[in-house]
């Protein structure tokens, strides 16, 4: 909005909050929310801004109209004395003079007759039965005992939390929070995940403004920082402990090679536990990294855990330098010394092992040339070290550059072609292309005539768009014709070509159907499936038609 909020409220800039409120009250009566919603919204917008930028209150007139506030007491026992008028429970009494008596002495017939004597509020509430509040230190001791992650029963904390009387009293709650945060910042205390999330939910530790609240409560900035760091660590540890204890895996759909290495969710958790134990000592890291599958698995685990719990969690749980080592060993990063060194080492070790094995098989221990052979072997190993390093570097670079580039090209091509997969464009093009391509292919010319090139091009497009079935079409087309004709005689080629091409075209039709109808994701699948099969049937009919009448049309 372009208007000036102070002008709208007709106040000088920086007027005190009380004046802002009074002016708002006056204007509100003229712009009531149910009568003038537009005006009310503008007024509200201006009021909120003015209130946020209100100046300091003038000290001259205190709030004398204010009723004496009921003092906030922490110990409930002292509340007994005055406040609300004594009343018998369950009876119906006339309300204050504002709202006159409304019912005429009836009551629901299921309620028993009211207690005759007039009981004071204190006795009725049984306030003397209320517990005296304990000190925050004692409460926090109990809290930590109930929140111990080593406890087996996960419900213990919830039960304790519900029953603790100090947590109901707001003043005591804050004292408990201060004590608890102080202890967390001082030492590395562990909380179970249930306890942490219950406390977080209750106190709002992860909400915006938490640090501001601590600072406003009088905590020093250094302590606030330590507290925030301690809470992060506590959460990370609690999450990890819970993940290790529960049944589900990080990956929902386990790929097959995963099974080969890790087995299942239990194997995954055992691996995580081992990595967590290894974070202090790097002893076995290099040895395990010599197997590329292990590098892949560890990186996938880190990736999955980062997605679930964040990079800071991974750094803390598994050690920052361990994480860095496994990252650098992964082929997805730019080629570096760790990767090249590991590849070269693998190659060399393999070569040496093979050489030893071969030497052992070929030569007997009594052979006089054994020593010479072994010396030659090791010389060869050292000499080939250079080859190994060069080869490893080249291979790494090829993988790093080639694989993502290829994926990028594929994505770009797909996106470019997608807009042309609209059925209004694609079906005519497809039909014409099919007819023309098959017609050309039926022409009598050697292997690489234009017809075959056209069909090969169609198959390549299908392959690039991701249809594995189109690969078989290409192969059948470019290389199979001669073989089939030699084996089964003329004419069978065309049938075979049609049969091989059909999966590719069916796949293309499926893409069109998905684009237009959203099947198989659409809710009304039946209609969409009918459309799909209609498209497939149309294409097949066109193919058959061109096979039958094409030669006639071209006069062959």
């Amino acid at each position: 909005m372009n208007a000036d909020p102070w002008e709208l409220m007709a106040l000088p800039r920086g007027a005190p909050a009380r004046d802002v409120k009074r002016r708002y009250a006056q204007l509100l009566k003229l712009n009531r929310p149910d009568e003038n919603p537009g005006g009310f919204q503008m007024l509200r917008w201006a009021y909120e801004i003015c209130l946020a930028h209100a100046g300091p209150a003038s000290d001259s007139t205190p709030d004398d109209a204010r009723q004496p506030a009921f003092a906030a007491e922490t110990a409930v026992a002292s509340v007994v004395a005055v406040q609300s008028p004594p009343q018998p429970a369950g009876a119906i009494e006339p309300p204050t003079d504002d709202t006159p008596p409304s019912d005429t002495g009836t009551r629901p017939s299921s309620m028993p007759p009211p207690v005759a004597a007039s009981v004071s509020a204190h006795e009725w509430l049984g306030l003397d039965r209320l517990e005296a509040l304990r000190s925050p230190v004692a409460v926090v001791d109990e809290l930590l005992a109930a929140a111990d992650p080593a406890r087996v029963d996960g419900e213990a904390f919830g039960a304790w939390f519900a029953r603790c009387p100090e947590l109901s009293n707001f003043a005591a709650r804050e004292a408990i929070e201060r004590e608890l945060l102080g202890r967390l910042a001082a030492s590395d205390t562990q909380l179970s995940y249930e306890a942490f999330s219950a406390l977080d939910h209750s106190y709002g530790w992860s909400q915006i403004g938490f640090e501001r609240r601590l600072l406003a409560g009088g905590m020093s900035p250094a302590l606030v920082q330590r507290v925030v760091a301690a809470l992060d660590h506590c959460l990370i540890d609690a999450q990890f402990a819970r993940h290790l204890a529960e049944r589900d895996a990080l990956f929902n759909r386990t790929p097959e090679r995963w099974h080969a290495v890790l087995g299942d969710a239990d194997g995954e958790r055992a691996e995580l536990r081992r990595l967590h134990a290894e974070r202090a000592s790097p002893r076995w890291r290099l040895l395990r990294a010599l197997r590329p599958s292990v590098v892949n698995v560890v990186n996938q685990l880190f990736y999955a855990y980062t997605a679930r719990c964040g990079a800071a969690a991974v750094d803390r749980l598994f050690g920052a330098d361990a994480v860095r080592f496994w990252n650098r060993a992964h082929p997805g990063t730019p080629p570096n010394l760790t990767q090249i060194g590991l590849s070269a080492l693998r190659w060399l070790l393999g070569f040496a092992a093979f050489g030893l094995f071969a030497t052992g098989i070929i030569m007997s221990p009594d052979d006089p040339h054994l020593g010479e052979a072994l010396r030659n072997l090791w010389l060869g190993v050292f000499a080939s070290a250079l080859v190994a390093v060069a080869g490893a570097t080249a291979w790494r670079w090829l993988r790093f550059v080639g694989v993502p580039r290829y994926a990028q090209w594929r994505e770009t091509f797909k996106r470019g072609v997608e807009s042309y997969l609209e059925p209004a464009i694609a079906i005519p093009v497809l039909s014409v292309g099919t007819v023309a391509g098959v017609a050309f292919a039926l022409g009598d010319n050697p292997y690489f005539g234009p017809g075959r090139l056209a069909l090969a091009a169609l198959a390549v497009i299908g392959f690039v768009l991701g249809g594995p079935a189109a690969v078989s079409s290409a192969i059948a087309l470019v290389f199979g014709r001669y073989a089939i004709e030699n084996t089964f005689g003329d004419g069978t080629f065309y049938f075979a070509a049609g049969a091989a091409l059909l999966p590719g075209f069916a796949w293309l039709c499926d893409r069109i159907a998905v684009r237009t109808t959203g099947w198989p994701n659409a809710a009304n699948g039946a209609r969409e499936r009918r459309t799909f099969w209609l498209l497939v049937g149309t294409t097949f009919a066109m193919l058959v038609a061109s096979l039958i009448w094409g030669p006639h049309a071209l006069g062959t």
């Binding site: 409120k21 929310p33 009921f70 003092a71 509430l125 209320l130």
Partner: protein, 564 residues
């Protein structure tokens, strides 16, 4: 005449604003509280209110209660040979209430102000308004129950700035509101609550405790289970006055004796009480209020009569709450005050009230991050919770892909950053022109009206087309055609006339007492039932009314003589 109605989970009330202030209207039995119960009689006609309530224990399969908890959903209750939606059941109750008001005041009721829990969602509010329409009365204003309670206590009459917390524990819902009043303005700062926490849950807890203590399985016959539940409900009310009780219970024909103390009830109810902490904390946090800034705590709602509630509030805030108005009637009195304000009675020209919406509203979006990974199911909030209503906010969204034909806007309400944890309100489809994603933004405007009902507007920037779209595909909501159809269908239903309902109520109560008692009381009851039936046969209204009053007094006497 504008009436104020408190449509509660267990009881409902109706009243009007007169020159002397808010007045609640008694029903045909002379009671101000009408149970929110609907039942089907032996002849297939419908019973509403006390008559149906008395039959709740005897015929649970033919009686429906606590249907307020199903408002906003499509759950149908089968009564007799017809299935009723919760809006229709509420409409039957509303019709009965309005008939009572018209009979008492002699004027026709044109409009109603109905109270809803502050934490009711958009679908639940719309269902309440639809219930009013089906009942044949115009509902232009819904008022939040804690706000109504504040009005009833006259909190708006404070001269200086003061903050209050209203703690409303009804039969089925729990609401907390923090209000501030100054110079005749009453502002709600924050609202929070739990739509599934109320007195009924305490009764469930007691029933479970009784069965566990006596080592008895829950009675399989629904009639027995309902009778047990009604008994335990009376035990709960008794525990308000007495610290310890010895209760004789009859379960599946066998007699038991069960001892329960108020202290034990409180310790068993600790998880329920702990559930009340979170909304209070949330409301205090959202309104950025410290507990010592509150001038008063106001206790509202029938279930707040339990001393453990008062004790918990005293523990929370270190002071005693305000509850000198009958907690059952507070909300209804507030609704009458609101009705008076709406009719612009002179007393209210100086008072204005503003309210807030309790939920965050937004749409589902997807995001593509720098690694080309697409994250689905993210919640993008448009209107934050505790925004003063009416409010209107606009946000711009782009379609995910180029050349998308349709933009699907899924509207959610809730506080979680993932839509899977939020509540789905409805879906809108906006047709888009063929443009790339960056050239095709859509402006989505959410407007909350003063009743907290949502209106959604989508503006396609490229074509300039405005789509004022109705939220559909929410199974809990009814379309206007459906409402009209149900209104017509309801008019054809046979409901016992108002006066006859009172007679049926008294007879049903007598039957219940007959089943519960033994020996000479039974004989006396039989004689009185015969006598009353004879009076009914005379068909003279005055005689019947006198006979009914005498009968009711006799039944009160019987009940006070009952086993406990």
């Amino acid at each position: 005449m504008i009436v104020g109605i408190d449509l509660g989970t267990t009881h409902s009330l109706i009243g009007v604003w007169t020159a002397d202030g808010a007045r609640l209207v008694p029903n045909a039995l002379g009671e101000v509280l009408t149970p929110s119960v609907v039942g089907v009689g032996v002849d297939g006609n419908l019973l509403v209110g006390r008559a149906a309530f008395e039959r709740l224990a005897a015929q649970p399969a033919r009686t429906a209660s606590t249907f307020k908890r199903y408002m906003g959903s499509a759950r149908e209750t089968r009564l007799g040979d017809r299935a009723f939606r919760p809006e229709e059941l509420s409409a039957l109750v509303l019709r009965a209430l309005v008939a009572d008001a018209e009979a008492h005041t002699g004027e026709k009721a044109t409009e109603a102000v109905i109270s809803v829990p502050a934490y009711f969602s958009d679908a639940q509010r719309k269902a309440t308004r639809n219930a009013g329409e089906i009942a044949g009365i115009r509902v232009e204003r819904l008022i939040n129950e804690p706000t109504a309670a504040a009005l009833a206590y006259g909190l708006q009459a404070q001269n200086a700035e003061s903050k209050f917390l209203v703690f409303d524990l009804g039969g089925g819902t729990f609401d907390v509101s923090i209000l501030e009043t100054f110079a005749g303005v009453m502002e709600v700062h924050a609202s929070a609550g739990d739509n599934f926490l109320g007195g009924e849950d305490f009764v469930d807890l007691l029933v479970k405790t009784a069965l566990d203590d006596l080592h008895v399985a829950p009675p399989p016959a629904p009639a027995d289970a309902a009778a047990l539940r009604a008994r335990i409900e009376r035990v709960k009310c008794q525990l308000t006055n007495q610290a310890s009780l010895a209760v004789p219970l009859t379960i599946s024909g066998k007699e038991y004796e069960w001892n329960i103390t108020e202290a034990r009830f409180e310790s068993l109810a600790a998880p329920l009480l702990a559930r009340m902490r979170a909304p209070v904390e949330r409301a205090l946090r959202d309104s950025r209020t410290r507990p010592d800034e509150l001038l008063q705590i106001v206790l509202v709602g029938g279930a707040s009569r339990m001393p453990m509630i008062g004790r918990m509030v005293a523990r929370m805030f270190g002071r005693l709450p305000l509850r000198h108005i009958n907690p059952d009637q507070t909300v209804a009195l507030g609704a009458c005050v609101m009705a008076g304000m709406k009719a612009r009675h002179e007393a209210f020209s100086e008072v204005v009230m503003t309210d807030v919406c309790p939920y965050t509203l937004g749409v589902e979006t997807s995001r593509v991050d720098e690694n080309q990974r697409q994250h689905d199911g993210l919640f993008s909030p448009l209107i934050e919770r505790n925004t003063v209503i009416p409010a209107s906010r606009v946000s711009r969204y782009n379609p995910l892909r180029d050349f998308q034909p349709v933009l699907k806007l899924r509207v959610f309400q809730g506080e979680s950053p993932r839509v899977a944890n939020n509540v789905f309100l409805g879906e809108l489809e906006v047709p888009l022109p063929r443009r790339t994603s960056a050239e095709n933004p859509v402006d989505v405007r959410f407007t909350y009206d003063v009743n907290g009902l949502l209106d959604v507007e989508a503006h396609v920037v490229a074509t300039g087309a405005m789509h004022q779209l109705v939220i559909e595909q929410n199974p809990g909501l009814m379309t206007p055609d459906e409402i009209r159809a149900r209104l017509a269908a309801l008019a054809e239903l046979k409901v016992h006339p108002r006066e006859h309902q009172a007679n049926l109520a008294v007879l049903a109560r007598a039957e219940r007492l007959y089943e519960e008692n033994v020996g000479p009381l039974r004989q006396a009851l039989t004689e009185h039932i015969h006598a009353f039936n004879a009076e009914l046969a005379t068909q003279e209204p005055q005689r019947i009314e006198r006979a009914r009053k005498r009968f009711a007094e006799f039944l009160d006497h019987v009940e006070s003589q009952s086993a406990f």
